[in-house]
Symmetry: C4
Subunit: 204 residues, 4 copies
């Protein structure tokens, strides 16, 4: 096949706007699907106010993971938007790194349900933290790739790039801390993410 | 870390367009997920027309909360759009107020299901009204923050700001009325929202 | 309250772009949620190829209503886009007509599931056709309101308006035919919609 | 009816932007709904770490089809965006080809669940591959129609069109290979899609 034509067909449309619409859609849907983690039960008859209150209290761990995942996805979405504000070109590899990243983003409703249901077991919390770790690492790879391959609008200085990479490395490190914490207490391991917010507050 | 670079990385992309796409997505999905509150049952055999009609009649409370939640979400979405028409800058705190707000918006399908299933119990209706109250208060906080921190395009006069705040306070008050009504009759408490529409009609 | 300020706050943002994003979102989600009408069963063990084939064959009525609803929603979405191409201003009443219309659009996944499950019973098919009728009538009301209140870009002539109204009336009439047909055969009543496509073909 | 008015009403809005928003929405939702294929079970008590690990291991075939479908949908979405980058006009027939195409795209979460649950049975894998085949063929028809009816921006040369058609034919051929492979081993038949990626790598 005529390489020029093929290359032309491929590279012609190499702006990032296309991937951005998909990103926004998948984030909005994933964040909203988190609510399916909370379900309304067929309570045993005769239902009373007390039974409903008891049920809602038993849902507290699920409300907690709902809020946690919602906020973490919002963090990622925000980081991505900040990155894409600076990235103006794209290519096949960059697109596919982002598709892989979205695959783990779309998996979050499942990990959230799993941790909501079995948050006291290490296997469930490990799955959640690994999911978050994959998202964080793919974010880092995506940003690194964009910088190394000149996809950014204004050429960043080496120094400001190195600084930004530190920001991108914070999240994977937090995930690793959370993973380590599951060996002490699965139920409390997700507090590592809270640590991240405190840390950011102090540094600012 | 070099504060300037970091600040630059953060503030560079401080328009509101980014949060608007997320808002629109989450509203559209939450409004459509309300329908999952209505489910098609495996009716006992032998199924007859009468059994289906009976089932549909038994769904009336669920149709009612479906319509109620759909309309309330549309009200919030409209208020938000009117606000964002005037807000042109954003910052970290403003974004996070809005993410919190969206977290309660995305929770509405759950509260709706709960009230649809157990609308005659105070616990379920209280949960619904508290969810609405949180949305209303966060709307108010978001608008207040935008005004106080000069995020609006054209500087509003103190007077027109005070008038707009009254509009924003209407909804939380209605929620409090609804909460009070649950102590009299949970099933009828949601009529408080109807009162809001009548009130607006009379004032206009 | 100062009426001018309030009016200003309300009318300031009276373009249609805002409602269009909600329309597009709700249509895309409703059309995709139709698939939840099809579910993958826990088949009795031992599962064989034949059991799966039998199950897929038993799903044929559900595939049919999936396709029917998908196409009907696509028709409505297209009609709406053609209308909004001509409508450039909006007001409160117009917005609320459209919200009501969207409420019935978002209900379609439920009606579809109901007809998919109980398509041989009049009650289920009537519900579906009434849902479609409401969508069709609200489309007509919305377009009529836009024309009568000068919300259209270019003033249409009375004649071209009357012609366009005929197009908008076609669908409610088809729904009424479908409703009438349920008294003869619920299962075949939805063929009325096919009639509409044939009719349009012949007239063109 | 006055043909000119009707034609005018129809053709007036013949840009592709309208169908693009629907395409983006349906893809984002379908890709995210794939996650519903993975469900969190009510495990038998007493739950242990081992039981959760066993369950997660038993999910591996479902994770595999999740990733496969996510990537295949991303491929189609990308191909569509490349095509729509070149297509600037639209007409009724073109719109309807794309609606049909979207109908099969929105069906993917079902086929994915079916193959995830019964991937070792030929009936389930055949259903999945036929779904993909329909998507691939409708993509090809859509592109062919756009070229033959001058809907593209810049007139492509016959040669570059013929080259592009080869790209569009690759996917249906891969589907046919997958279909053939189900007669040997349903479980491994989906590896045909991997073959496609390898093939593209080698040719590039």
């Amino acid at each position: 096949m005529d390489t020029k034509t093929k290359k032309d067909l491929k590279d012609n449309f190499m702006t990032t706007s296309r991937i951005e619409t998909l990103v926004d859609g998948i984030f909005a849907i994933s964040m909203t699907l988190l609510v399916l983690n909370l379900d309304v039960p067929q309570l045993v008859s005769p239902t009373t106010n007390l039974i409903i209150i008891d049920y809602l209290i038993s849902l507290i761990p699920k409300f907690y993971v709902y809020a946690l995942s919602f906020i973490l996805l919002a963090v990622f979405w925000r980081i991505n938007h900040q990155a894409f504000h600076r990235i103006k070109r794209s290519n096949s590899i960059f697109t596919w790194i982002n598709v892989m990243w979205l695959m783990f983003v779309a998996l979050v409703p499942f990990s959230t349900s799993l941790m909501g249901e079995y948050g006291e077991f290490q296997a469930a919390t490990l799955f959640f933290h690994f999911n978050m770790l994959c998202i964080g690492i793919l974010s880092l790879i995506s940003w690194r790739y964009a910088f190394k391959n000149d996809l950014t609008t204004v050429k960043l200085t080496e120094k400001s790039y190195r600084n930004s990479i530190k920001v991108y490395m914070l999240f994977p490190i937090v995930c690793l801390v959370a993973i380590a914490l599951t060996f002490i207490s699965p139920s409390w391991s997700s507090l590592a993410y809270m640590g991240m917010f405190l840390f950011k507050k102090i540094k600012d």
